[in-house]
């Protein structure tokens, strides 16, 4: 079976057949963008459903089970409801920024999806600074959150947005440094090359102790980065209403909500790519069938998403000062020491390779 998954090239070649090259490449890009948009809008909805189901099982409940078999259409119905709702706004809101903010959040999270290598070929955009691009893009989203909080002209929204700023800016350091630890092993920022080095063993095995520490730090910081419990200071329901998106309704609210879940997927996907060998199957058991890589990639990602959900339904929330103590007094120093250890290991060739 030979399914061509190199979507950008396939579509462009097909288009070049009947139009000039410049137009074809732009059109090809738009088509790929639309495909990604459609896939991940639906995937985001199903992540919401998964979260609700998993939450229910953790709490000895059943979860949504009315709309469609096993509740499978529940989030679709919710999305339809949100589309049909009125877009309300506050009178004194800064209208331009207020309307702009949700797009910042959703576009930045959709942009990050372009660089993931779902299989060897199924990668829309193999940029040579892949990891750097991901870190940069993930910090653009927080601008949307700050804008939303500021322009809503609501004290609670502003406090929520400011907390988000504090949290994201702090934890970005840990994400960046823990990924940097792994980059020491690969020697490249390009995601396809990172996957290539992992053919000799996933990086979490290659780098053994410091890699495991880096993974733990990455997961903690990643949970904080997506503003999920136990780090959900941003939308602390008990204190701030809904935090930065208190004043949003209808589809604009849905954008924030969807972006949150796509961000969770992105964090898990980065971890899959950098620590767990992306689309590589364990021990290369399905190496002869390359398109199976999609299932390995999604399987690993969903495992990590489940881990984040497990965190959410287990751990109690942190106070803001505890949140900052955790980052600046624990994660950051450990991370810096960890980088040095990893450098020594790479220098002395103590990595494990098969």
């Amino acid at each position: 079976m030979n399914i061509s998954l190199n979507i950008t090239e396939t579509i462009q070649e097909w288009l070049i057949g009947f139009m000039p090259e410049g137009v074809a490449s732009i059109l090809g890009m738009s088509i790929v963008a639309l495909i990604y948009l459609a896939i991940f809008a639906v995937a985001g909805l199903y992540l919401v459903l998964l979260e609700r189901k998993v939450a229910a099982w953790f709490q000895l409940r059943i979860g949504p089970n009315r709309v469609g078999y096993w509740g499978l259409f529940q989030t679709m119905a919710d999305a339809l409801k949100l589309v049909s709702k009125e877009l309300t706004g506050t009178v004194k809101a800064d209208k331009f920024l207020y309307n702009l903010a949700p797009y910042f959040v959703i576009i930045s999270s959709l942009m990050a999806l372009a660089v993931f290598p779902f299989t060897k070929e199924f990668q829309a955009f193999d940029i040579n600074i892949g990891i750097f691009f991901l870190i940069a893009i993930s910090s653009v989203g927080v601008i949307g959150i700050l804008l939303a909080g500021w322009s809503s002209n609501n004290k609670f929204a502003l406090i929520g947005a400011m907390r988000s700023g504090v949290q994201t800016i702090s934890y970005e350091l840990s994400i960046g440094l823990s990924l940097l630890t792994m980059v020491l092993l690969t020697g490249s920022l390009q995601l396809s090359e990172i996957v290539e080095t992992q053919k000799e063993g996933w990086l979490i095995l290659q780098g053994h102790v410091p890699a495991v520490i880096a993974f733990m730090i990455y997961m903690i910081a990643g949970t904080a980065e997506t503003n999920r419990a136990p780090f959900d200071m941003v939308e602390a329901e008990s204190e701030l209403g809904a935090g930065f998106h208190t004043e949003y309704s209808g589809m604009k609210f849905a954008y924030f909500f969807l972006a949150e879940f796509i961000n969770m997927f992105i964090i898990a996907a980065i971890a899959t790519t950098v620590f767990f060998g992306a689309w590589l199957s364990p021990f290369g058991i399905t190496e002869s069938i390359p398109w199976l890589g999609v299932f390995w990639f999604l399987g690993k990602t969903l495992m990590l998403v489940f881990l984040m959900m497990w965190f959410r339904w287990t751990f109690p929330r942190l106070r803001v000062d505890q949140l900052l103590t955790l980052e600046w007094k624990y994660l950051l120093p450990i991370n810096l020491v960890n980088i040095v250890i990893m450098a020594i290991i790479v220098w002395l060739n103590l990595t494990i390779k098969f």
């Binding site: 099982w57 953790f58 709490q59 000895l60 409940r61 059943i62 287990t314 751990f315 624990y330 450990i334």
Partner: protein, 158 residues
């Protein structure tokens, strides 16, 4: 040195927590406590301690245990209970005695605090577990707890 041990205990306690919730996650399919309410209406049984409404049990001879002492009426913080009583002649002893004519209970006012039931010296009123109490007309929420023609059980007053 407490820095390292803090991290160690921190991670250990977090993992303990995760193992507890993980066990719940694995066993939840069997032990889900959700009641699929309108579907299981015929089999649904409420818990014994559930406070649905105040009722007065009657035995097979249409006899209840209410002596008309009015303690429940006094105990009720919002006046949900009204006792309409009368005096009559006790057939056995020939003495004058108080008995209830109507024990009126306003379900619409009741906050289910249970003070009346605690106050009753003869356990004449108890909690019922029914919860589908909505009606189209609120006069139906004013109930007479003692059945017509009922009388107090012999020996309750002693």
């Amino acid at each position: 040195m407490s820095y390292i041990s803090d991290i160690y205990t921190g991670i250990k306690t977090l993992l303990t927590g995760m193992s507890v919730t993980g066990k719940y996650f694995l066993t939840s399919r069997k032990g889900a406590i959700t009641q699929q309410y309108p579907d299981n209406r015929s089999t649904l049984k409420m818990f014994e301690r559930f406070r649905g409404e105040v009722v007065m049990p009657h035995d097979e001879n249409n006899e209840h245990q209410c002596t008309g002492c009015q303690k429940c009426e006094l105990a009720c913080p919002n006046g949900s209970i009204e006792i309409i009583w009368d005096r009559g002649i006790d057939e056995a002893t020939g003495k004058k005695k108080k008995f209830i004519d109507k024990h009126i209970y306003h379900l619409g006012l009741c906050t289910m605090c249970g003070l009346c039931i605690e106050a009753c010296p003869t356990d004449a009123i108890v909690w019922a577990q029914n919860f589908e109490n909505s009606t189209y007309d609120r006069t139906q929420l004013t109930k007479v707890l003692n059945r017509p023609g009922s009388k107090v059980k012999a020996g309750v007053e002693d």
